[in-house]
C-alpha cells in the first residue's frame, strides 16, 4: 500500500519522467562502450606518434567523465525522486527484496566512477601500458554495473521461477537475463561510439579526424547488424502475454489502427535505422565534413531511438512493477481479495473511510490516486479517463469500472490497467469522479465543496 504521495505522473511530469529515464539509460549504457573505445584507442599507434590524437583521447575521457558522473548522477537522482513521489511502496518493496543487488550496484558504480577519475587525472602522468590497464579497468567495472543493473531490469520483466522459490539466483538469472544483457551490451557499444563521434565532430578537418571518425563509426555500425538478432532473442524470452500485447498493437497496422505502443515501436525502429545511415553517410563516407551540428543531430536521433524504446519497455511493463507479483500501484496480489470487499476502510493512509453522497467525488479521487495514478499517466493512453471517454454518463462509466474489477472475467484491460479493488459504493464513487472529470456528470455544489476541502486540507476530513 502506498504512503500518502504527491501526484507527479501527469502531463509535464510524465514527459519529464520519460526524458529523465532516457537520459539515465543513455548515460549508464554509454559507459561500457566508451570504456572499450578508450582502452582500444590508447593502443592505437597514433597515440604515440600524434599529439592531436592524444589531445582528442584526453578530451573524450573528460567528456565521458562528465556524462557518467554529472549526467548519470543527476538523472539517477531525479528518477529516484520521481519514483518516490509516484510509487513509494513499489520502490520500497523492490529495494527491500533485493537490497544486496542495490548495494552491489551502487558499489560497482562508485568503483566505475572512481576508475574514470583516475584514468582522466593520470593522462601523461603514468606509463602508457598502465594507463591502458586503467582504461580496461574502467571498461570492465562499467560492464559489471551493466550486468548488475540488467539483472534488476530483466527481473521486473520476467520474474519467472522466483515467484515460487523466492530465491536470489532465480531472480538474477531470470528468463530474459542473457538476452537482455546482449541487447544492452550492443547498445552500450553503440552509445560509446556515438559519444566519441560527438567529440570528433569538434575536431578540425584532416587525416586524424577521418581516421578516428571511421574507428568510432565502427562502434555504431557493427552492433547495429547484430541488434535485430539480439532483439528477437529477447522477445522469445519475455512473457508471451507481452509479445501478444505487442502483436495486438500491430494487428491493425496495415489499416492504420495502431496503438500508441505500436507508434513508438515504429519510431524506435525508424530512428535506430536512421542512426545507422547517419553514421554511415556522415562519419564514414564524409568523415572530414562531420561537423558539430551533425554530432548534435546524431545524438538527437540516438536519444529518440533510446527514448522510444524505453517508452515501449515501460508500456509493456505496466501495470506491473514486477509482472504477476506486484502492481505498479503498490498493491500486492495477495492483499487484493481483502481490498476488493472495501478498500477505503482497510487501507492505512486513506483520509476517507466510507463513501457518502457528500464525499462521493473526494472518495472517487482518493481511490483513483491510490489505485491508478501510480500505474498510468492520467492524461495518457491507457489511463482510466481515456478508457472511459466513450461513456456518456455515470452508469456507463460504472460499467467500465465493474468490467475492470478484481476477479472480473470480462476484463479486457488486465494486461495494462490495474484491476479495481473496492466494494459497490466505492466503484460508484470512482465512476462519479471519472465521469465528472470527463465532463459527463454534474455534481452538486456540496460535493464539489467537499472535494475542494479534500484537496486543500485533507487532515480536517480524517474520519
Amino acid at each position: 500500500m502506498n504512503f500518502p504521495f504527491w501526484q507527479a505522473g501527469d502531463g509535464f511530469f510524465g514527459l519529464l519522467f520519460i526524458l529523465t529515464k532516457t537520459l539515465f539509460t543513455l548515460t549508464t549504457l554509454s559507459a561500457f562502450g566508451a570504456g572499450v573505445f578508450l582502452a582500444l584507442g590508447e593502443k592505437n599507434p597514433l597515440f604515440d606518434s600524434h599529439s592531436g590524437y592524444r589531445e582528442f583521447m584526453k578530451k573524450f575521457t573528460g567528456f565521458v567523465l562528465f556524462v557518467v558522473t554529472v549526467l548519470g548522477t543527476v538523472s539517477y537522482s531525479a528518477l529516484w525522486i520521481i519514483y518516490i513521489l509516484t510509487a513509494p511502496a513499489t520502490l520500497s518493496t523492490i529495494v527491500h527484496e533485493f537490497v544486496w543487488v542495490w548495494i552491489l550496484q551502487g558499489f560497482a558504480y562508485l568503483l566505475e566512477v572512481g576508475s574514470l577519475f583516475v584514468l582522466y587525472s593520470t593522462f601523461n602522468k603514468v606509463h602508457k601500458e598502465n594507463h591502458v590497464d586503467l582504461a580496461w579497468s574502467f571498461a570492465i567495472l562499467s560492464l559489471i554495473t551493466l550486468i548488475i543493473s540488467n539483472a534488476t531490469l530483466s527481473f521486473q520483466q520476467t520474474p519467472g521461477h522466483w515467484l515460487n522459490t523466492l530465491k536470489f539466483e532465480d531472480a538474477w538469472f531470470n528468463a530474459s537475463y542473457l538476452a537482455s544483457l546482449s541487447v544492452r551490451i550492443l547498445v552500450s557499444v553503440q552509445t560509446g561510439g556515438i559519444l566519441a563521434l560527438l567529440v570528433i565532430s569538434t575536431l578540425d578537418k584532416g587525416k586524424l579526424k577521418t581516421e578516428v571518425a571511421s574507428h568510432a563509426a565502427s562502434f555504431v555500425i557493427y552492433p547495429f547488424i547484430l541488434l535485430p538478432f539480439a532483439t528477437l532473442w529477447f522477445l522469445a524470452t519475455i512473457d508471451p502475454g507481452m509479445v501478444d500485447y505487442l502483436a495486438a498493437g500491430f494487428s491493425g497496422v496495415e489499416e492504420g489502427n495502431l496503438s500508441v505502443l505500436t507508434r513508438f515501436v515504429f519510431l524506435a525502429v525508424f530512428s535506430a535505422v536512421s542512426v545507422f545511415i547517419f553514421t554511415l553517410l556522415g562519419a564514414v563516407l564524409n568523415a572530414d565534413g562531420f561537423k558539430r551540428s551533425m554530432g548534435f543531430w546524431l545524438v538527437i536521433l540516438a536519444f529518440t531511438a533510446a527514448g522510444s524504446t524505453e517508452f515501449v519497455r515501460t508500456l509493456l511493463g505496466n501495470p506491473y512493477a514486477i509482472a504477476g507479483y506486484m502492481y505498479n500501484n503498490g498493491i500486492k496480489i495477495n492483499d487484493a481479495d481483502q481490498f476488493s470487499e472495501g478498500f477505503l476502510a482497510k487501507a492505512k493512509w486513506t483520509v476517507i473511510k466510507e463513501v457518502t453522497d457528500e464525499n462521493i467525488l473526494a472518495a472517487g479521487k482518493e481511490l483513483y490516486m491510490y489505485q491508478f495514478s501510480g500505474a498510468t499517466v492520467s492524461g495518457g493512453y491507457n489511463s482510466l479517463f481515456s478508457l472511459a471517454k466513450a461513456a456518456t454518463n455515470v452508469q456507463e462509466t460504472l460499467d467500465l469500472i465493474n468490467q475492470i474489477k478484481w476477479g472480473s472475467e470480462s476484463n479486457l484491460y488486465a494486461a495494462y490497467v490495474p484491476s479495481f479493488l473496492g466494494n459497490d459504493s466505492e466503484a460508484n464513487a470512482l465512476a462519479s469522479y471519472v465521469a465528472w472529470k470527463n465532463g459527463v456528470f454534474e455534481p452538486t455544489p456540496e460535493q464539489i465543496a467537499y472535494l475542494k476541502k479534500f484537496e486543500t486540507a485533507p487532515a480536517g476530513l480524517v474520519q
Partner: protein, 366 residues
C-alpha cells in the same frame, strides 16, 4: 617523363567503378571534372543553402507517394470512397496518404523559407535573375499543387474550402469568371471539378514543375551558389568553401534523413484525417478554412471593405496580384533599391504571419 609514364599517370587518375564504366562509353569526364571543382561557401549562414534541397526532397516524396496513391484513387463520383478504401483497406494506405499530405505542406513551407532566405541573402542579384524567377514560379506551382490536391478526397472540409477558393478566383477582374468556369467544369463545384483538379494535380502542374525545376537547377549549376556580401568581404584566407561533391551532397543527405524522421513522426503519430463525405446541398459548416498558406489571404479578404464600385474580393485580388508581381520582379528593382526590397519583404512576411494568426483565431483554432 616518358609517354608510357604519362599514359600510366592519366590512367591512375581516371575514375574507376561505375563512373569508370560510364566514362569508357560516354563523354562524362567534363561533368566529373565540373562536379569535382564545384564549391559551396561555408560560413555561419550556410544552413540556409539546405532549404532548396529540402524542398526538392519533399517534391520527390510527393511524386513517389502520389504514384502509389494513383494505383487506387478514382476521381469523380467515387473519389471519396476510393480515398476511404486507401485509408482503411489498402495495406499501409493510411501511411502513404499521410506522408503525401504532410510532404505537400512541408514542400510549400520550405519553398517559402527558401524564397525568403534568397531575398534576404540578396541571391537574386544579376546574373541570377532567372534562377530567382524560376524559383518564384515554383512557389506558385507548389501552392497550386496544394490547392488542386486539397479537393481530391472530396470530404466536407475539402469541398467547402475549394468552394471558397473558387469564389476568390471568380472575383479576379476580367479573367476570373472564365478561369473559375474552366476549373469547376460547371456552375458549381462538383464531381466534374474533381476530374479537372485531378488532371491538373497529377499531370499539368507536376509536368510544369519538373520543367521549371529543371531550368532552376540548370541555372544553379551553371552559375553556382551565390556568395553574400558578408562572405565576400572576409579576407581571402577566411573564405572557407566546401566541395559540392561529396561534402555538401552528403550534408544534404543527412539533413534529408532528419527531415524524413520528422515526416514519419508526423505521419505515424498524427495520421492525416478524412472527414465526412462532402454534401453539396449542406450549408457551409463553421470553422471551414483553406490550407495554412492561404490563411493570410483568407483573413485579408474577410476584413477588407467594399470601396465604391469595387467589392472587397476585387480589392483583395488587386493587392495579392500586385504583391506577387512586386515580389516576382525583385531582381529588376535595381541595386540602389536593395534596402527597400528588404523592408518590403519583411512587411510581406510580417503580414503573412500576423494575418494567418488572426485567421486561425477567427476560426477558433487558436
Amino acid at each position: 617523363m616518358s609517354d608510357l609514364q604519362n599514359d600510366q599517370n592519366s590512367k591512375s587518375d581516371a575514375p574507376t567503378g561505375v563512373l569508370g564504366w560510364l566514362g569508357e562509353r560516354y563523354q562524362i569526364q567534363g561533368l566529373i571534372d565540373y562536379l569535382a571543382k564545384k564549391e559551396v561557401p561555408s560560413y555561419r549562414h550556410s544552413f540556409w543553402y539546405y532549404m532548396g534541397g529540402l524542398s526538392l526532397l519533399f517534391f520527390m516524396v510527393q511524386i513517389v507517394t502520389g504514384i502509389l496513391l494513383l494505383f487506387y484513387y478514382t476521381p469523380g463520383k467515387e473519389a471519396y470512397s476510393s480515398v476511404k478504401f486507401i485509408v482503411e483497406k489498402v495495406e499501409f494506405g493510411w501511411l502513404i496518404r499521410s506522408i503525401h499530405s504532410y510532404a505537400a505542406n512541408l514542400m510549400v513551407f520550405f519553398v517559402f523559407v527558401h524564397m525568403f532566405s534568397v531575398i534576404f541573402m540578396k541571391a537574386y542579384r544579376r546574373p541570377r535573375e532567372l534562377t530567382y524567377i524560376t524559383g518564384f514560379i515554383l512557389l506558385a506551382l507548389s501552392m497550386g499543387m496544394g490547392f488542386s490536391g486539397y479537393l481530391l478526397p472530396w470530404d466536407e472540409l475539402a469541398f467547402f474550402a475549394t468552394k471558397i477558393g473558387m469564389n476568390i478566383t471568380e472575383s479576379v477582374p476580367l479573367i476570373g469568371p472564365i478561369m473559375a468556369g474552366m476549373l469547376k467544369g460547371g456552375p458549381e463545384v462538383g464531381f466534374d471539378t474533381i476530374s479537372r483538379f485531378f488532371a491538373l494535380h497529377v499531370w499539368g502542374i507536376p509536368l510544369l514543375m519538373i520543367g521549371v525545376l529543371g531550368a532552376h537547377m540548370f541555372f544553379l549549376q551553371v552559375q553556382g551558389i551565390s556568395e553574400p556580401d558578408g562572405f565576400k568581404a572576409l579576407p581571402v584566407e577566411k573564405q572557407k568553401r566546401v566541395k559540392f561533391f561529396p561534402t555538401f551532397m552528403y550534408d544534404d543527405f543527412l539533413i534529408w534523413l532528419i527531415a524524413l524522421n520528422g515526416l514519419i513522426v508526423l505521419a505515424v503519430f498524427f495520421p492525416w484525417g478524412l472527414g465526412p463525405e462532402a454534401n453539396v446541398m449542406a450549408p457551409t459548416p463553421e470553422g471551414i478554412h483553406p490550407e495554412w498558406y492561404f490563411m493570410a489571404m483568407f483573413q485579408i479578404l474577410k476584413i477588407l471593405p467594399n470601396i465604391g464600385p469595387l467589392e472587397s474580393e476585387h480589392i483583395g485580388n488587386i493587392i495579392f496580384g500586385l504583391t506577387g508581381a512586386i515580389l516576382a520582379l525583385i531582381p529588376f528593382w535595381g541595386n540602389n533599391r536593395e534596402r527597400l526590397v528588404s523592408y518590403f519583404t519583411i512587411a510581406v512576411l510580417a503580414g503573412l504571419i500576423i494575418f494567418s494568426i488572426l485567421a486561425y483565431h477567427a476560426v477558433g483554432s487558436i
